[in-house]
Amino acid sequence: MDRLVFLLSSGLARGAVLALFALSLVIVWRSARVVNFAQAAMAITAVYAAFAITAASGSYWLGLLGALAAGALLGALVERGPLRFVRGDDPLSGMIIAIGLVMVLQAGLAMAFGPEHRPMRAPFPERPLMIGEIPVLSPYEVFVLIVAAAVMCALALLFGKTPLGLKLRAAAFAPETSRLLGVRVPRMVTIGWMLSVATAALAALLLVPTELGLNPHAADLLFVDAFAVAVVGGLDSPVGALAAGLIIGILDSLVTGYATAAAAPLAVLVLLTGVLLVRPRGLFAAADRRTG
């Protein structure tokens, strides 16, 4: 029973990170209709920027801001740079360019910082708090949950309640009409990329202290899990990403706790295959509303 509570609560924290990363995939899918296969490499590049800033200034919080800024900048650079070469009639070329980016970024990071795992300290203790005799969340996991919830609320407000959010949604769903109405669609796509990569960078930054350490490949598994989350939740659905993120985070934690850590990626693979076989576009995918 103790073990179950502990696994459920740590699964919740992992699920929040997963949901955040999956949300970043949803944002970029909604604004540009691509699955960004370079999301993990771009996020981890921003985390390296945070690492460097924290090492130089001694402040975790400056590093966190740095990760967000670096993520947004990287998103804009990639969208305005290599992805401008994607040919409109060929969805393959975008994926292949993203794969090239993965190789360039990860090899570049390994060359600049060395391939070893660099320990990254969490800003709060990672030992679980006890309620009675039962270990539950650690202070760091509480921090992760709060940050993830705050970012999701902020994004929901941004997309739902602000003029910018309205323009972003309009540009994503009806680019042609939006352009006629004076929305700068290319700028909206760039902003979508910036939001997406900054969110992904934050998710990776929250993940790294709980894993082996910072490494160019530290977010690869996170990307695969988050892709599974986004597919289960439907690439179009932020709420689906949240729900599926928590479910898969808890599943992952339970499999790791009761079977073995090695079985967790297999469990995710089986789930992903099962969902895709039943619903090739994800469980909660809405009908395609976008025109043109």
Binding site: V34, V35, G88, P91, G94, M103, G108, R179, F227, G292
Partner: protein, 354 residues
């Protein structure tokens, strides 16, 4: 047998014999590299036909090679232990084991692929690559991270005075690669290739013409997996081992690089691309070895990947069609379709619900 098929078979035999003749000009290490390149060629040719003709991007071909490698190592070891006197039989049953295991996995993936469009299939195959080390640890027959040993095949007595073992393995590799790739060439030329292009070009149109796109995609995936599996068997033969570490994400992406740089859909391009992904990392690492120790250690293994990444972006942006089109082996695409406004994000073609 019709005339084009006979011509393809003749040409394959000539190329294989030329490659075998070329092994006499190479030292043992170069022959080992040739065997590895032949293994990659078998996998890349399958991948290139799959991506180029059916538009299905698989990031998981390393796992299909690994499936072939495990199938080969398990069957060949079992036969070599049961019948120590018959290495040829052990090798051939090993190849059969590789084809069966990789083909079965490929067919399963193909059935999934038939229902999926681009990013979903790529994500599924990516998850497969990431899960390979877990599978090796969970399935006892794959013996965990250190992997399985594959039996060693010495040079036959009649040839022992003539060639060394690396050259013999290069011969076997070339022969297996020829057997793996030639059916792909025939398929691409013939009715199968036409069906694949039809399903890629316009699914509804293909369906109206009596071509079932799902079946075509699943079949293409299985064919491609067979070829990759034989490539994995060759790699297991040359390295005498098969372990999950050797078939990671990096290797899987290299196979994609080889297919893209060579020119998607082109078999000759696949050969050039595979030679490139075997030789360039070695050249770069040799160069890195001459640098001061710290810098060399940082560049080792990374500089080549960085270069490949940059080349893939450049090829996709500036020269789609890769080396094959630059060398005039692939036709340029017919007049571009109605230009979409560049300011708009692209929407992938809709796959009618099946």
């Amino acid at each position: 047998m019709n005339a084009p098929t006979a011509r393809i078979l003749r040409r394959a035999a000539v190329i294989a014999l030329l490659a075998i003749a070329a092994t006499f000009a190479l030292d043992p290490f170069r022959n080992y590299q040739l065997a590895v390149a032949a293994a990659c060629f078998a996998a890349v040719a399958g991948l290139s036909v799959l991506v180029g003709l059916t538009g299905q991007l698989s990031l998981g071909h390393a796992v299909l090679m690994a499936a072939g490698g495990y199938g080969y190592a398990i069957t060949a070891s079992a036969v070599a232990e049961a019948l120590p006197g018959a290495p040829a039989l052990a090798f051939l049953t090993g190849l059969l084991g590789a084809a069966v295991v990789a083909g079965a996995l490929g067919l399963l993936l193909g059935l999934a692929a038939a229902r999926l469009t681009g990013p979903y299939l790529a994500g599924l195959t990516l998850a497969l690559v990431i899960a390979l080390p877990s599978a090796a640890n969970v399935i006892p027959a794959l013996s965990g991270d250190q992997g399985r040993a594959a039996p060693f095949f010495a040079v036959p007595d009649g040839l022992a005075s003539l060639i060394v073992v690396e050259q013999w393995h290069a011969w076997l590799a070339i022969a297996v690669a020829a057997v793996a790739v030639t059916p792909l060439v025939i398929l691409r030329r013939g009715r199968g290739g036409l069906r694949m292009r039809a399903a890629l070009g316009d699914e509804t149109g293909a369906r109206l013409a009596g071509v079932d796109p799902g079946r075509v995609k699943a079949g293409a995936f299985a064919m491609s997996a067979l070829s990759a599996g034989l490539g994995g068997a060759v790699l297991a033969l040359a390295t005498q081992s098969v372990s999950p570490g050797a078939y990671g994400l990096g290797f899987s992406l290299l196979l994609v690089v080889a297919a893209v740089v060579g020119g998607l859909g082109s078999i000759g391009g696949a050969a050039l691309g595979s030679a490139l992904v075997v030789v360039l990392p070695w050249l770069v690492d040799t160069f890195a070895g001459t640098l001061p120790a710290d810098l060399g250690r940082r560049l080792n293994g990374n500089l080549a990947v960085l270069l490949f990444g940059a080349v893939v972006i450049a090829v996709t942006a500036a020269a789609p069609g890769g080396l094959a089109r630059l060398l005039g082996r692939l036709p340029r695409p017919a007049s571009p379709r109605a230009a979409t406004p560049t300011t708009e994000p692209h929407e992938p073609a809709q796959n009618p619900e099946r």
